[in-house]
Symmetry: C2
Subunit: 336 residues, 2 copies
DNA sequence: ATTGACATCCAAAACGTTTTGGATTATTGT
DNA sequence: ACAATAATCCAAAACGTTTTGGATGTCAAT
């Protein structure tokens, strides 16, 4: 059924060793016999058994990613990151092993399982938390990894977008448009980027000479629903904000919905801005002002770094920090 | 470093065989020693080496999916399908092996490679073509698989959405709104569902008493750009259509853009409808009338079927055909 | 005392590959 | 002509599991 080295050996009259050497480019086999063996291998449709190969020489040619499965695991952010990573992995001839797991203990176990069972050569970690236990684990296990996002520790390779600068830009943009009451919808505090984006918010307000009012700061959980709820809360205030900045696009889109439900016009009555520039942001109604994270490219670059870590090559930049780009669209009123 | 059965054997004083039996639930080991061995395994943090396990007993506990990588492989359709499959796979304790490949010969090779190297227990095939060589290959190799979409042959398990009925509904909906010139943006002819959706288009026209005019039928390739180009072509006709139906949402969104560029109002001057109900459809501007394919659920069901195929369990329904739901939104003018 | 049944354990083979350490010729330099 | 070198090949070990086919001891039934 399945054709192995043994079959090729029998067919060609050479030993398994020689066949193996011929196929994997050793220098100690005659060029004629190499061609002969390769021809037979092709004719029989030989494909090396990867399980066996991995068992012998630790190298799986696959890289792993653990995806948190919340209600819908189709988080557009993750999907785009996955695309970039997957694309670049294909470029290097690597496949991608996905494990969808509930965040928390289950997720950490998935890492343990995958790493210890030596199924992958390296792993891409995303959506990093403060004191992220996954990173601690990977560091202790000396398993190659690269992170999208930075935590408090930084003795590991990461690539990140400067969230502080991004939100800072947005707040200034809104302030310039005349907004005085700018609300902020936070991401979960345990996520590492939350503090940075919040910093950007505070800095932006300060620079615009606006006061920091905690009534205008609401907690969300990155979902559309939480953005909706947050906006509803904000609009119910005695002095509702005239602009709402959310920590990601999904929440911003949810906020827009809430605003529209109150018969208010987004971009005129209330300005809205997000963070990420997911595909849905451009085609939203109205199109969403946001900060563009080139997630797809980040995925590709992250994989580049990972490959280098795996190959033990020197890395010129252990830390890559990208400056995001402000994308002004109708939702902030700047273009109406 | 890595803890193996041998380590547990040494630590416990039993043989490797007994340790293996204890851990994998054989009946021939004393309950006390089993507990003892399990305790040691936990203490040492034992994780079985999957490569070795697979080598011995063919079973990888991973299922595969090959994703065509076009310019951006972040096709929302695939991402959502992936979500569903991944979610359900996690439910069964399976992981997901992704391989991103250029469609065509490369893609088929990826199948060959993955299947022959026995890295996966089964595979989910999507976006099936007429006389799809991948299916032919999988059938010949007797490798478990399940397909989203049906081709001309049907001696394999598949789950599909009735595209004929879907487009039929859309055309009738538009005809009821008074449209007489309804254009159709086709998907590539080699895709199996194209013929079916086209059938639905023709049937719908016939049932509404409208003539079939080939000038109103334009070829697209499922991308937003091709939808844009198609709509531009249609609007340049001496008698442009008053409604445009696209074979998928991405093309419909592209068409909307082209219409708006001509300073026409979608839903008033020209009605637009798509197919799929991807997330971006609801948040488009205006929201897109479409036919809802429950892609996420389809992914889950497909995986259910696949698991059954892998386990060699009898399958009650070898073919599942879902009827899609018409979602009327503003882009068709029905709600303005 | 012998047999059979049972419970508990284990040595060794097998899975398909890569790698190590030669073995055998052929070729070259002296 | 002889040693040294190069070219070409291969047997066997190793990777970490699972599975096969007993081995050993105990206990009850004959």
């Amino acid at each position: 059924m399945k054709v192995t080295l043994k079959d090729i050996a029998r067919e060609s009259g050479y030993s398994i060793t020689t066949v193996s050497h011929a196929l994997s480019g050793y220098g100690d086999v005659n060029e004629n016999t190499r061609q002969h063996i390769i021809a037979i291998a092709e004719r029989l449709g030989y494909q090396p058994n990867l399980a066996a190969r991995h068992l012998r020489s630790k190298q799986t040619k696959t890289i792993g990613m653990v995806i948190p499965l919340t209600a819908y695991f189709s988080d557009p952010f993750f999907m785009e990151l996955l695309s970039g990573v997957g694309r670049q992995a294909a470029e290097y001839g690597y496949d991608l092993l996905l494990s969808a797991q509930q965040p928390g203990e289950e997720e950490l176990n998935a890492y343990r399982r995958i790493v210890a069972s030596s199924r992958i050569d390296g792993v891409v970690v995303a959506r990093v938390q403060r004191d992220d236990p996954r990173i601690t684990f990977l560091k202790e296990a000396h398993h190659p990894f690269v992170v999208f996002g930075r935590s408090n520790a930084n003795d590991y390779p990461y690539i990140d977008v400067d969230g502080r600068a991004g939100v800072h830009q947005i707040v200034l943009h809104l302030a310039r448009l005349g907004h005085r009451r700018i609300a902020f919808v936070l991401s979960p505090p345990q996520l590492a980027f939350t503090a940075l984006r919040y910093e950007g918010y505070c800095q932006g307000l300060a620079e615009a000479g606006l006061p920091l009012d905690t009534a205008y700061i609401v907690q969300g959980d990155l979902t559309r629903a939480s953005g909706h709820a947050a906006a509803a809360r904000l609009l119910a205030l005695p002095e509702p904000p005239t602009a709402i900045v959310a920590c990601n696009d999904s929440m911003a889109l949810g906020a827009m919905l809430a605003i529209q439900e109150q018969k208010l016009v987004v971009g005129r009555d209330v300005a809205v801005a997000g963070f990420d520039d997911i595909p849905a942001a451009a085609s939203a109604n109205p199109p969403l002002t946001t900060v563009r994270q080139p997630i797809y490219d980040i995925g590709r670059q992250a994989l580049d770094m990972l490959i280098r870590v795996i190959r033990n090559e020197p890395i010129e930049n252990l830390h890559v920090l990208l400056v995001p780009e402000l994308i002004v669209r109708a939702s902030s009123g700047g273009m109406i």
